[in-house]
């Protein structure tokens, strides 16, 4: 048995799967200030009458860190940043105690200016007085050479309970995002750690020995224990859960996912059987980060979107003023239109039709016509947004001639809709988009299914420079001397081996790894080759341990 629990802002969804079928599913309200309780309550009700010994694994997805950021309840870690020449790092000031010190490293990882240890000690003395518990340390180009971050960290060890280092957050170049990511990781650390401790205790209490995982924004998981140092990676895992759920319910090479909720519709794109990533990293609370996340576009259109008449036409949204009239609200909504068109929900039909009649009077048409126009308009809005997202994805810059000329464009494929109003919207979407729209069963708990079936993901960046004579596996902070004969093939082999090192039972096999970057540049100085500069990035693609496609109607 596999258990997936997604603790969202409003609802907690949970599923219990066995042999890729849903044995049990529940949807309850989240208890806002006690997420641990939300998890255990869902768990207990799923396990009623079942033996904990049969559990293979439990995967959680929570909004704990996300909410702390969005609601501005962060611990506010101290930051020490070292930059050197370039854009002034003071522009990236974040949190209440942001300090800049000297020292500089260049793009090759060479030290251009030494750290000012005296200055650092002064900063630490000052921070000591503030009794900070968490610290983030970031230096420019630390993903090429982490020695400055490590030196600062060693000096700060005694003063802090937790220190987050920039280069361990991600191997990608982007100093401002590295600063924000490190800050968020340090500032959510203690909150996340107490959650992990409480969950671990609750599971011990129930004598559950199955491994525990937590979902990340990239649609993969990490072991709960491992997540202690990477709390930032759990940010925005909610949308990722839904996207992975759609992937579990549909197995198609390319499709467009629509998660139609009460307030918003989230669009996702699947290419070559996997969801697309955001180009750089997620942005949360106004901070662009290096946290790898799945691509979604949120459109302010859902079942509760207000219907109004503007300029002689019915418009849908973008405001949501409350529930549908059919459910006791005050304004006509898309849901009212859909119930009217469907005509089968006898309990809610009168109120819904009433809403349509009010709207129709303003527009000078019949209630049925107003409902038709509303549904059609909503479908048009979604269609336009899907098109614009596709255009955006397909116009992303590329840097080689091969990619420029041969890159396969992302196409919409079939449309998979989940969420409350999705079934009623399907025919209108089909008409607007001119493609088949399907509603897989269990799509109302797609997020919990996605969490349950997600595999461990990870990513490694290897940077090798034979002229300087070293290589660096950034995310592992692993540096090694290399010979001048070291080749791109060697770099790829090493990357694969280092990936396996951090493997766990849910880590995909080697053949699930893919190289997202493999470049080798001959370095020429004064007309002679002096070495090679190699950049390799390996990742395990977001994937599923199984799928529910057997139950799927049309695939």
């Amino acid at each position: 048995m596999i258990i997936g629990i997604d603790v969202g802002g409003t609802n907690t969804d949970a599923v219990l799967l066995h042999n890729n079928t849903v044995l049990s599913k529940i949807k309850t309200e989240t208890v806002p200030h006690n997420l641990v309780f939300s998890v255990t309550a869902a768990l207990d009700s799923l396990l009623e009458g079942r033996s904990v010994k049969d559990i293979e694994r439990v995967v959680l997805s929570t909004t704990l860190s996300t909410n702390a950021i969005v609601q501005d309840r962060l611990e506010g870690a101290a930051m020490i940043v070292s930059a050197g020449p370039g854009i002034d790092p003071r522009h990236y000031s974040i949190g209440p105690d942001y300090r800049v010190t000297g020292g500089s490293i260049d793009h090759r990882g060479r030290e251009c200016e030494k750290l000012d240890l005296y200055d650092i000690d002064n900063i630490l003395l000052d921070l000591d007085r503030l009794e900070k518990r968490a610290l983030g340390v970031v230096s420019r180009f630390s993903v090429r050479n982490p020695s400055h971050e490590m030196a600062i960290s060693r000096r700060a060890e005694k003063s802090f309970d937790y220190i987050a280092l920039g280069h361990l957050m991600a191997g990608t170049l982007n100093f401002p995002r590295r600063i924000a990511t490190t800050y968020l990781n340090a500032s959510t650390h203690h909150l996340h750690r107490s959650f992990v401790n409480a969950i671990a205790a609750a599971f011990r209490e129930r004598e559950i020995t199955a491994p525990l995982f937590i979902l990340k924004a990239d649609g993969g998981t990490m072991p709960l224990e491992y997540s202690r140092n990477y709390s930032a990676f759990t940010i925005c895992s909610g949308p990722a859960a839904s996207i992975m759920g759609l992937m579990a319910l549909v197995r198609a090479e390319r499709f467009t996912g629509l998660d139609i909720g009460g307030t918003t519709t989230d669009i996702s794109l699947f290419h070559r059987g996997v969801p697309l990533f955001k180009p750089y990293g997620i942005t949360i609370g106004g901070y662009p980060t290096l946290i790898r996340g799945l691509l979604t576009r949120s459109v302010p259109l859902g079942g509760d979107s207000e219907l109004s008449v503007k300029g002689g036409k019915i418009s849908v949204g973008p405001l949501r003023k409350g529930a549908a009239k059919a459910f006791g609200g005050d304004t006509p909504t898309l849901t009212d239109a859909l119930i009217t068109l469907d005509g089968k929900d006898e309990r809610h039909l009168p109120a819904a039709r009433q809403a349509m009649e009010e709207l129709a009077a303003l527009r000078g048409v019949s209630a049925q016509e107003a409902a038709l126009e509303s549904a059609g308009r909503a479908a048009q809005i979604i269609k336009k947004e899907v098109e614009s997202l596709l255009a955006e994805v397909n116009s992303r810059p590329v840097y080689t001639i091969r990619e420029m000329l041969e890159g396969e464009p992302v196409a919409p494929g079939l449309v998979v809709a989940a969420g409350g109003p999705s079934r009623a919207m399907a025919p209108w979407l089909e008409k607007a988009m001119g493609r088949p729209v399907m509603n897989p069963p269990h799509s109302e708990v797609a997020n919990a299914i996605g969490a349950a079936l997600a595999m461990v993901t990870s990513e490694l960046t290897v940077h090798a420079d034979t002229e300087e004579g070293w290589l660096f596996v950034v995310e592992q902070g692993f540096r090694q001397m290399i010979e001048s004969s070291f080749s791109l093939a060697d770099a790829k082999k090493l990357a694969t081996e280092r990936m396996k090192l951090q493997s766990s039972s849910l880590m995909p096999d080697g053949d699930q790894y893919e190289f997202t970057e493999e470049q080798e540049f001959a370095m020429v100085r004064g007309y002679y080759r002096t070495g090679k500069n190699m950049r390799v990035r390996i990742q395990s693609r977001p994937g599923l341990t199984g799928s529910l496609r057997e139950e799927c109607v049309t695939c």
Binding site: H91, F141, Y280, I401, A522, G526, R529
Partner: protein
């Protein structure tokens, strides 16, 4: 949070899979460290800085600016089409007002490519600025354009293409041709009689630094631009006058580049040369992008700046002052000079020898242009290369008057395949391009 004061477009195409040859300065590695710097600085996250994917130029785009021998396909690779397409994209995003200014950070470069193309010279096959400018003229109807070429080498290709065009002001600041490739760009190269003065060459002595460059910008370039009143200013932004460049001898720094750019305020900048790929390009490009976006660039400095940069020698300063002064005077007297030269002539002719250093081709060229007061005059070029190819090319300008156009058409009709391997007609007034 950082914000660009001027909305800026960046077209970045490092062509990581293209090189002239493995150890050539124009190789895959060239923009690698620039990319590292741009990414590490998070420039693309700054509000108001937008990155665009280049377009791919078409043969028709190239044929507006060049006569490729025997045809476009023989002279270009995909890389040239994308590089030219990058410049075109930069123009499009500026002229459609998506952004206020744009920088095409693309390779390979183009400013040594002339009107007739037999091969590669000075690392260039296709003049990406000229291809862009002719695209702008056709698409947006903009006529008066100024090109300020700050590459360390004389922009002899761009000069050649616009030699007869008084709507295109070409100003080149470069290391004196007596000391550097391509050995041209002297003050007396001022354009044809019909466009006399609209080519301004500023040869600078070796070891000219920030001070000298900025002096020329303030005391020559800006007054001339003010006078010319261009609708669009384009900067051919070569970065090989940096103090660390391996193939030149100038002393410009990243701060100097950025200040120059901030004063010039080009609408579009296009990368040209620059081969100090580690010591200069990352810092210079960062500084230029910040300057174009109207942002603070004062903290951008090369790591070895304090070790390497010395004040400009007073002798250099004096020389630069004198050259600027002389050229400004020359600019002001351009019409008198043109009148003197024109007297009693119906046509102007010139004979040229052109060497293609990269491909080792020697070209001999004869040009004959109709001197016309109404338009730029139709141009007939005979060109032969030591590869044994003879061509005749006729160019009819955009603004051609009736007489010039009919002379051009009859030149094309009269030229015989018995005398030439190929005969071309580039009729910019109708947009037609023909080869027989």
């Amino acid at each position: 949070m950082l914000k660009a004061m001027r909305k800026m477009g960046l077209i970045f195409f490092p062509a990581f899979d293209w090189a002239i040859s493995p150890t050539h300065p124009e190789r895959e590695e060239r923009l690698l460290y620039t990319q590292d710097q741009i990414w590490e600085e998070g420039l693309l996250d700054i509000e108001g800085i937008h990155e665009f994917r280049p377009a791919v130029a078409t043969e028709a785009d190239i044929e507006r600016a060049h006569f490729c021998v025997p045809d476009v396909a023989h002279q270009t690779t995909e890389s040239h089409m994308i590089s030219a397409g990058g410049a075109i994209k930069a123009a499009d995003v500026v002229l459609s007002r998506e952004v206020d200014c744009a920088f095409a950070l693309v390779r390979p470069p183009g400013h040594h490519a002339m009107k007739v193309v037999h091969g590669n010279r000075g690392f260039c096959n296709i003049n990406i600025e000229a291809v862009m400018i002719e695209h702008i003229r056709d698409r947006y109807g903009i006529n008066r354009i100024a090109i300020v070429d700050t590459d360390c080498h004389h922009g002899d290709g761009t000069q050649d293409i616009y030699w007869y065009d008084r709507d295109t002001l070409f100003i080149s600041l470069h290391q004196d041709g007596r000391t550097l490739y391509p050995g041209s760009g002297f003050t007396d190269e001022m354009g044809s009689i019909g466009a006399c003065g609209y080519t301004v060459n500023v040869p600078l002595p070796p070891h000219t630094g920030d001070e000298g460059y900025l002096h020329v910008i303030d005391n020559l370039v800006m007054p001339v631009l003010e006078d010319f009143k261009p609708e669009l200013v384009i900067n051919s932004a070569g970065q090989d006058n940096h103090y660390s460049d391996p193939i030149t001898n100038m002393m410009l720094s990243a701060q100097g580049y950025a200040t120059l750019n901030a004063r010039l305020r080009p609408d579009i900048a296009v990368l040209e040369g620059g081969y100090s790929i580690e010591g200069a390009l990352p810092y210079v490009n960062l500084a230029i992008i910040l300057a174009m976006a109207g942002m603070d660039f004062s903290s951008v400095r090369e790591p070895d700046y304090s070790l390497k940069v010395r004040a400009q020698h007073p002798q250099v300063t004096e020389y630069v002052k004198a050259v600027s002064e002389m050229l400004l005077l020359q600019w002001k007297k351009r019409d008198d000079l043109a009148r003197k030269l024109r007297k009693g002539k119906s046509h102007e002719e010139r004979q040229r020898s052109i060497f293609y250093d990269t491909d080792g081709i020697a070209e001999r060229r004869h040009e004959r242009v109709r001197l016309c007061t109404k338009c730029s005059g139709s141009l007939r070029i005979e060109s032969s290369s030591d590869q044994g190819i003879n061509i005749c090319a006729v160019h009819i300008p955009r603004n051609a008057c009736k007489d010039c156009r009919s002379e051009g058409l009859s030149d094309f009709a009269r030229a015989s395949k018995r005398d030439f391997d190929w005969i071309y007609l580039q009729d910019r007034s109708s947009g037609a391009f023909e080869r027989k």
